[in-house]
């Protein structure tokens, strides 16, 4: 069966670290940076386990700042 792989890109400067994407992710892919901050001082989100991403776009849909873009491919 073809496996679906996904990935997201996060606009780090726009992210406000609200962690709604982290809570909505069904595959536990995203986390907030534990120490790094962006220019505005927020702990921005990043893909902590990118291999688990299925590209469902749940994170992007609940993101209030529209800083997530989602990519998805079918692995042959």
């Amino acid at each position: 069966m073809a496996k679906i792989r996904g990935a997201v890109t996060i606009d780090e400067e726009k992210c406000k670290g609200c962690s709604l994407c982290v809570a909505s992710c069904p595959a536990d892919v995203l986390s907030l940076q534990p120490k790094e901050v962006n220019n505005r001082g927020y702990h921005y989100a990043f893909m902590s386990s990118p291999e688990k991403c299925i590209g469902c776009a749940s994170c992007a849909m609940v993101c209030p700042d529209a800083c997530i873009e989602v990519y998805r491919v079918k692995e042959p």
Partner: protein, 253 residues
């Protein structure tokens, strides 16, 4: 497969809507306003309505909505957005006219304008963000504040004998013959976001079809006003707000 092989333009399934300006929103982290702005931008893009849409911005947190959504906007006096939208729609019936209002704007100072615009059956769409608090001015009690809810002006919780009862204005509007579509949605989960998007799209289509007034209430969070982190605020909303403001269609003609 490497992550750089996945992140290519041809594999993109979700992107920032083009009608959303490339600026920082001034909203607090996790605020529902951002999600609803994004939905409106997506819908206008899908309907190819960027040239014929006219929004009316309220007074409240969303006062800068015109900076974020790249369509024509008018800023109305506090609560008067439905009155301004009425004038625009009557003068230019081929435009898609919508208002974007919070609960302090629509349910407090603008109650008369809201009720009468809906009663006249003006062909406008009203997007109503209900977070049960005056967010912009520092978290004071709004008419929609729940009983027992602590705010800056009700530090011991809202009391029915002193402050009255929470106002479910969508139920009031649903009684009116001029209103064609009244619904209550939320944006706390991906599923709820999809439903809210469908509801706002339907309201916009009703406005263009001349069926009457459509009101889409979005039950939202105000993390700063409620003094909760965004994820807990969503949980609190699910537990408490949905009791008084249950999700679903109130009227669909």
């Amino acid at each position: 497969m490497d992550i750089n092989d996945i992140i290519k333009p041809e594999n993109r399934v979700y992107k920032r809507p083009a009608l959303l300006n490339d600026t920082h929103m001034h909203y607090c982290p996790g605020c529902s306003h951002g999600v609803v702005h994004k939905l409106i931008a997506e819908i206008l893009e899908e309907m190819n309505a960027e040239d014929k849409a006219i929004g009316v911005a309220p007074v409240g947190c969303a006062v800068f909505a015109y900076n974020y959504i790249d369509v024509d906007f008018i800023e109305a006096a506090h609560g008067r957005a439905p009155a301004v939208a009425t004038a625009i729609k009557r003068l230019q019936p081929d435009k898609l006219v919508f208002t974007y209002q919070g609960d302090g704007d629509l349910a407090a100072i603008g109650t008369a304008e809201t009720i009468h615009a809906a009663n006249r059956g003006e062909n406008i769409a009203i997007v109503f963000i209900n977070n049960a608090i005056y967010g912009m001015t520092g978290g004071q009690m709004a008419p929609t504040t729940l009983l027992g809810m602590k705010t800056a002006t009700t530090p011991y919780g809202r009391r029915a004998d002193l402050n009255g009862y929470p106002l479910a204005i969508s139920n009031l509007v649903a009684q009116l013959d001029g209103a064609c579509y009244v619904t209550r949605q939320s944006v706390h989960t991906p599923a709820a976001v999809r439903k809210a998007k469908a509801a706002i799209r339907k309201a916009f289509e009703n406005s263009m079809a001349g069926k009457g007034t459509s009101l889409v209430e979005i039950v939202s969070t105000c993390n700063s006003g409620w003094k909760l982190p965004p994820v807990q605020a969503n949980e609190w909303m699910k537990e408490h707000m949905f009791e008084k403001y249950p999700i679903g269609d109130l009227k669909n003609v």
